[in-house]
Amino acid sequence: MKEPDFALRDFFGERRQELISHIPHAVELGMKVEEAGARRALLRIPRGERLLGAASRGVVFGGVITTLLDQVGGTAVMCSQRDLTAIATIDLRIDYMRPSTPGRDLLGYAECYRLTRNVAFVKSRAFHDGEFDDPFAISLSTYMLASSAAAPGVVKALEAGRSGKRRADKPQ
């Protein structure tokens, strides 16, 4: 079966950082899009003192992991869409299996395993480099898909990015 043409296919390679570069909080946390592909995304939050729950223990606060998994989930949904629409998180459930390891970057991987007309369903995990099979948190989340007629600014921002590339490619 032929894969559908993903609306954000242009951003699956070198331009993947543009999937989140318009999101102030993601930028603020230094989030990096490590990989983006069909229905999936991998994001990194670099280690940082201000992310901690308790300075002495060096463990990241749970809410930071919420941010990572919410963002990577949303990005995976964007990477699943054929027609670009805005998305909004409906709910997010996280199981924390163990504390994150002090001093290490956080990685979040998400797959949109089901996309219906109105709702996207995502599975994601948070882990450290080299430990994909030993995540410290696992999450399930759902996202509402806006109608394409709504096209709020975030959708426009991404499309502006795409048309910007086309303008740059045009001979002057």
Binding site: H22, I23, P24, H25, A26, E28, E49, R50, L51, L52, G53, A54, A55, V60, F61, G62, G63, V64, T66, T67, L68, L69, D70, Q71, G74, A86, A88, T89, I90, D91, L92, R93, I94, D95, Y96, P99, P152, G153, V154, K156, A157
Partner: protein
């Protein structure tokens, strides 16, 4: 509610949680319990078009509120560790101060179950709700 810790105790704890300091969390304590406040800041935004707070910031705010309510409710809750946390995003959280309150549904010997609600302006129109189970 007879608090196990005072407002100044809780504020001192908040000052030692780097992430809470970074978010700009404020903790108050009244007869109902903990009232957590999150002033709006542009670097907490997830969607610039609306604008709306990042879902992760809202989730973290709920989780922090739950933590502080546990600390306020019980002296023996020293370092509750989250086992799981569920967030329902009800309305877009706009460029305004957010408030939240939590209720310890059950404080057992080893596990506490806490539910949380966050709103802006109108408590009857919450922006998010959630609950979590914590290992004591």
């Amino acid at each position: 509610m007879k608090a196990a810790r005072s407002a100044s105790d809780l504020t001192a704890v908040a000052a030692r949680i780097p992430y809470a300091v970074y978010l700009g969390l404020r903790i108050e304590l009244d007869e109902e319990g903990v009232l957590a406040r999150l002033p709006f800041r542009s670097d907490l935004v997830g969607n610039v078009a609306l604008p709306a707070l990042h879902g992760g910031v809202v989730g973290a705010f709920l989780e922090l509120t739950a933590l502080f309510q546990m600390l306020a409710s019980a002296r023996d809750a020293r370092n509750p560790k989250p086992i799981n946390f569920n967030v329902n995003f009800l309305r877009s959280a706009g460029p305004h101060e957010s408030l939240a309150r939590a209720r310890v549904v059950k404080h057992g010997r080893r596990i506490a179950n806490v539910e949380v609600v966050a709103w802006q302006g109108d408590r009857a129109k919450p922006v998010a709700s959630g609950f979590g189970n914590f290992l004591l």
